[in-house]
Every structure is written in C-alpha cells, then in structure tokens.
C-alpha cells in the first residue's frame, strides 16, 4: 500500500504540470482551512468532514473540466460556500430563498479568498455580545464561550435552568437581528 503511494507520488512529482498534482497540492495546503471554515458554519465535526470531502470531490471534477480563471484557493472556498448553503437548505422551509440564506451565513467583510478570518469572527461575536442586554450577554458568554452547563449558568446568575433556556433563546434571536457592517461599527 505504501509502496503504491510512493510510486504514485513519484509519478506525480515527475509531471510538474499534472492537474492531479495541482489538486493534490491544493488538498494538502487547504484541507485544514476548508475544514475550519465549514465547521464554523455547520457546528459539527462529522458534518464538517463530510462537506470538506464534498468540496474536494468536486475539485476532482474541476481538474477534468474547463478550469475557471480564478485561483484554485478561491475556487475551493467559493465551492465551500455553496456546499454550506446547500447543507442549510436541507433544513429550512421551502419559502426561504437562497440569497437570504447566503446573507445570513456569510457576513460582509469576511475573507472570501481564504474563507477564514479569526479576528473578523471574534470581533463580530464580541460586538454582538456587547450589543445585547447585560443578562442575555452573560448567558451567552457563560454557555458558549466558557462551557458552563445550564445548571452552572443558572447558579452563577441566580435563576432557574428554565429561565436560562428562555434567556438564551431571546439573546440568540435578538442577536440575529443585529446588522453588522464588517468594521466593528454599526
């Protein structure tokens, strides 16, 4: 098995213009970033692995077909976006239109080329938390950023688990209505 892989690798390296080599290199260089990008939008490892596999499976076709003028990296992340939108479409009502879904998933200002921008995401979350009423913001911080269970959060904030659930829901619902322009200003 390993011998076979080594032979394949030699063949691949020998032909520097091989489209297979292009995809193999893109896979090696970008699989982690594509995975992270997808994970952040689907929130589950298994799903993120599966959709990452889908993106690179599509890339196999990309090398057979007419290649667009954009870089393979830009192509990979554009494909990751449509793959993520497709995933969410499977979970929504037929009445939700695709462009509305795209706008919800990808805030303006995020890096389209590399897909990922940690500072951007953190600033956005910080801004959202800052814009919420104090108690709601506290619930999200404890639950999401510090890993508190419902019971621990309820104890910390001196309320019931039922109230934590309701506050958590209200906070997320309210936060989802906050528009963000990408610069940290509103």
């Amino acid at each position: 098995m390993l011998e076979w892989a080594a032979r394949l690798r030699q063949k691949e390296v020998a032909d520097t213009s091989s489209p297979h080599r292009t995809v193999a290199e893109a896979y090696r260089n970008h699989v982690e970033a594509v995975y992270r990008f997808v994970y952040r939008k689907v929130g589950n490892r298994e799903t993120a692995e599966d959709l990452t596999a889908e993106v690179f499976t599509k890339a196999l076709q990309w090398l057979q077909a007419d290649r667009p003028s954009q870089s393979i990296q830009a192509w990979l992340f554009a494909t990751a976006r449509t793959t993520i939108v497709d995933y969410w479409r499977r979970h929504v009502d037929d009445s939700v239109d695709i462009s509305a879904l795209e706008n919800l998933l990808f805030s303006p200002g995020s890096d389209a080329e590399t897909g990922i921008d940690n500072d951007h995401d953190r600033r956005r979350v910080e801004q959202i938390l800052g814009a919420l009423p104090e108690r709601e913001s506290a619930v999200l911080r404890l639950r999401f950023l510090r890993g508190y269970s419902l019971a621990e959060a309820a104890q910390e904030l001196g309320t019931t688990e039922g109230n934590i659930k309701v506050m958590q829901h209200r906070a997320l619902k309210r936060a989802a209505t906050i528009r963000w322009d990408g610069d940290g200003t509103r």
Partner: protein
C-alpha cells in the same frame, strides 16, 4: 425581562434552540428541527456562529486527512448510491458521470497525499505498536510546546500542556511524543540519556525511546501523543477540557 412569564410557544422554541446548542457544544449530531421557518433560521445560524467562535473550537482532528479521505473514497466508490436528500435540489455543479471518470485516478491522488504525509512521519510514529494507545482521543486541542529548533535529532524534551505530561522525541529526524506517566502504577518516568530509554521513578520498569515496553512490570507501552509542526513550532494534541475557559 426574564420575569415575564414566557408564552408556551416561546418555551417550545427555546427548548428546540437549546437542544441544538447542546448538540453543537457537545459535538453530538446537530439537533436541527426538520423544516426551519424563515424567521427561525437566523437564530440557528447565529447560535452556530457564536458556539464555534471559542478559541480552538474549530481545531481539526489530528487525523483529518485520513478521515476526509475515507469520506472521499466513499463518495467516489459508490456513484450509483448518492446520499439521500430530503428533497430534490438543482443539479450540483459536478455531475455524477464526470465524477466516476475522474474518480479512479484522482481519488487515489488525494489518498496518496494522506499516505505521503504518514510516510513523512508528520505526527505518526513510523511503526505502530499493538499495545500503544492514543493518550487523547478525537476531542482535543493542539498545544504549542516548543520551537522545532529546540528538539534537534537525538533530543528528548519534557513538556506539560493541555492536561498531559509527556516527552517530545526526535528520533533521527522523526518527531513524536509519548506520555511521561508509567503504565504500571502512574509514577512519572524519566529519560535515561545514557541508556537511551525511559525509566520509571518508582518501580522497575523501562521503555524504549518510542515508548515500547523493554522490561519490568508494565504490560502496556507508554501511550503516544500526536504531534505536528507548524511555522517552526511543535504542537501536541492535548485535552480540550475547559482549557479555553
């Protein structure tokens, strides 16, 4: 606000969102309601954004390539059995037929990349011992423990990070890590440079430089710890337990 008595509909919605949040935070399969309505979808997407923004949440598993490869192989090997989707969607940009023709050669190219990495010794001990276990499972985080230059060939270096104690070992250019805790009764082991082996501080037990049992009391090898090198730094795969809190 929290003293308003919530409407039963709101309680139901809060329960559903809570189930989803729990699934994201715990790594369980996402508990998404079947057909989310337009005014609910934004809440679920926002919940996903916030829950995945904590540092390290998006860290890939140490065997990402192998895992993605297995899924690529599944997809390309079974073109006649596409995954069921709840409803028909516009044709994807990639046709099934195109995939099958590309699959044979190109899928093996990708699989080759993963094997190539394993051969290069990135994070994997070159030989697998039947009794050598992974210390930390898939739910871990990468911890920066040393500069690559601090562990030249032949060097062994102690580290403590992410809830684990271990040794980085550079065995002739191949880097790996093993636990510093003896599998007999839990004492620490020390590096015996003169004999190039690990000795237990408490009892008669020794391990070779890859953690394999050499003799004495223990029945199992020292567990291995996954490593990787990035931008001149060495990372080890440690536990994720509230370490980001």
């Amino acid at each position: 606000m929290e003293r308003d008595s919530p409407h039963p509909d709101e309680i139901l919605a809060a329960e559903q969102v809570h189930a989803y949040v729990e699934s994201v935070l715990s790594g369980e399969p996402p508990a998404l309601p079947a057909a989310l309505e337009a005014d609910h979808i934004a809440t679920y997407i926002l919940a996903t954004d916030v829950a995945t923004s904590r540092p390290g949440a998006d860290a890939p598993p140490h065997d990402l390539l192998a895992r993605v490869n297995a899924r690529i192989a599944q997809r390309t090997a079974a073109p006649t059995a596409p995954r069921p989707t709840p409803r028909s969607r516009p044709a994807p940009t990639v046709s099934r037929r195109g995939l099958t023709t590309a699959a044979g050669v190109a899928a093996s190219v990708l699989v080759g990349v993963a094997l190539d990495r394993a051969v290069a010794g990135l994070g994997q001990p070159a030989q697998d011992h039947s009794t050598q276990m992974d210390l930390v499972g898939p739910d871990g985080l990468w911890y920066d423990v040393a500069a690559t230059s601090a562990v030249p060939p032949g060097a062994v270096r102690r580290f403590s990070a992410g809830g684990i104690d271990g040794f980085l070992v550079n065995d002739g250019g191949s880097l790996y890590a093993v636990s510093a805790i003896c599998t007999h009764m839990g004492c620490h082991v020390r590096w015996n440079a003169a004999h190039r082996r690990f000795d237990c501080l408490c009892h008669n037990a020794s391990y070779g430089r890859r953690g394999e049992v050499l003799g004495g009391r223990p029945l199992r090898d020292l567990p291995r710890i996954h490593t990787r090198e990035l931008n001149g730094r060495i990372y080890v795969w440690g536990t994720s337990w509230k370490s980001w809190g």
